[in-house]
Amino acid sequence: MSAQIPAGLTEETVERIADERDEPSWLRQRRLDALAALPDRDLPDVIQTPGRRWTNLDELDFESLVDPNDQRDETERVGPDGVAVLSFVEALDDDEYAALVREHLDSVTEPETNYLTALSAALFTTGTLVYVPEGVAAEDVTIRTEAASQSLFGHTLVVTEESASVTILEQTSSDPADDPRYVSNVVEIAAGENSYAQYGSLQTLDEGSYHYTLKRADAARHATVNWIEGNLGSRLTRSDVETELTGDGSESKIVGAFFGHEDQHLDVNARVWHHGEHTTADLVTRGVLDDTARSVYEGVQDVGRDAWDTNSYQRENTLMLSDDSEADASPKLIIHNHDTEASHSATVGQVDREDLLYMTSRGIHPRVARNMLVEGFFVPVLEEIEVDEFRNDLRERIAARLR
């Protein structure tokens, strides 16, 4: 289903955004093409079962949520020597980086995938390029974005050249506002041969905001792309984290952590496509729900016809702390090649009563015991995080929410 076009979104608006950034004509045209495509694009697919739609994206009022004439943010970009971490404005001002952006932008994601990606392509103002040249090993690239306006659209492009490696932490946050915000974040990673990237994302938007994020990587031969997706904030989040294992021997982990409370609705999805031979994927998502929070999860492991010798695993576990929360889950296997070892599992339940009994019998207060068990529940996810600051931050925020 398509949504309405936000008020004030015209060709002039888009031209003005391009003018302000002094954008090259191809990027300007990309905005105009996306705008033209907008009326025909549908909202991202959501799962429907008889009588139920798992996430009601079509109830969002984009006309009032999005103000195309006002996008403000505080974005901090930090990277070690040897790595370029630049805004698009800076990158496009330099011939070498401009060529890189032109070559790789939309090589992994497509602006016209759906209504929300087209909206992002037409309007994005916060662009970031992370470029890791051949053979360079870099740690702790950080991109911190604080949304200051009612709506904000960002696009991050990561290019890792052959045998490069990088760990990235991205943080998206905002202060509470009077009107609901809409924050969109598209990330694409073009992972070159034998390169390695870990992309950690921590979303702590204010709880009146609506959030859409599409993160997709394309992994070349022997490349590894690991995603860590942490969702704690927003009123409603729709998150799609995806990897295309195109090259032979490529690998991907998609690790997710979410903690919903009050009336938050978190729709988190992890998808992997095995195209090449000898590829491996591991999808691990752990989430906790309190109060009347709702979670929706879809995990897809798609093994192509020519994906010989595939290994693919998926686990999703949801813990419910409140009787009024709701969890929907659909882990899917789509297997076209028999030379595959694939499995998935999903569980939903409460904190284990026996564990709780054991701890209280050791004199620990029940509330403290429960909180310790919830913190422990996230350990398998926390252990995957390579950026210390990210791991500690996530751990502290989980602990804070439990108090």
């Binding site: 709701e326 028999h338 030379d339 998935h344």
Partner: protein, 410 residues
Amino acid sequence: MPTDWPGQPDLSEIDIEEIVPYIRPDIDTRGGVDDWTDLPDEIKDTFDKLGIPEAEKNALSGVGAQYESEIVYQNMQEQWEDKGVIFCDMDEAVQEHEEIVREHFMTKAVPPSDNKFAALHGAVWSGGSFVYVPEDVTVEMPVQAYFRMNSEGMGQFEHTLIVAESGSEVHYIEGCSAPKYSEFNLHSGGVEVFVDEDAHVQYSTVQNWSTNTYNLNTKRAIVEENGRMEWISGSMGSKATMLYPSSILKGRGASDNHITIAFAGEGQNIDTGAKVYHNAPETKSTIESKSISKDGGRTNYRGLVHIADGATDSSTAVECDALMFDNESTSDTMPYMEIGESSVDVAHEATVGKIGDEDVFYLQSRGLDDDDAKQMIVSGFIEPITEELPIEYAVELNRLVELEMEGSLG
């Protein structure tokens, strides 16, 4: 008609205008004869070949046999009749047991408005079985109905209604087959089961429709307090199957058990699974699914488990395993879980793998040839399910699997 389910079978070939919805078999007695020898030779031969009269003698409490659109044979052992058990064809039930039929027929479980094929079924249904088991009666041996479509281009729309009063127990077995024609056939049956308090109904199906048949059924059970429903399905035949037997666990402590085997060979798309609604506290469900795909066939487990808010202390366990033979085949698993209650235990597990080269090699080193080795591995793969079946059915299922294997391995 669902047309937008991910990966679902292509139903565009089905032209409802073309389907012959009703063919009256060539017999004189309405409602079926009660002696096999009274049947016309052609019909009798068909069922003889399928081994139905033989099975009746040995292991069944009653048998119904449908040929085309009507039941042609119906018999039930006297001892059950004396206890008030009714097993007759649906057309007769409409006449003779109007009160029960009226209350239950396409009202609560499968209303015609449910889906396109349920509506079609509601309009053109004929034949099928009616089973009524009075309070506290246990029917010790299974009752069986066998459905045969013999004509080209026909649609079979039998309706089966099972009413098990409180504390009763019955096992209903359904077999299906048809010879292969170039035109498509349509089987769109409706099954409604009412499991009252403390009652136990087992519904077993082995479907071996010819590979030109579209098998699109709606099967649903409503289970009251402490009642127990078991669905056992073997889907071997058909060109396309869409079948998701459902249990609505309405009463406290109600339980459901699904056992599903699907085998898709060349040109087959078997899309099957289970649906369970936990609408009361302390309800339980277990779903076990095994699927095998080879020679370009596609199997899909598609299932929904819904636990409503307030269905405290409910639990569900779903286990799906798939075996693939080759690179042309497809094996999908698409479970959906909707959990609205926190004090529950929900687990889902699935695996997909190929026939292990090492396993085959080992068996070959013990003197088996390649075909036998693979057959043995498949039998082992589905054994956890066949051992749950009554012995005659397990044998039948194993034989069908062997035939499927021979067809392409030979």
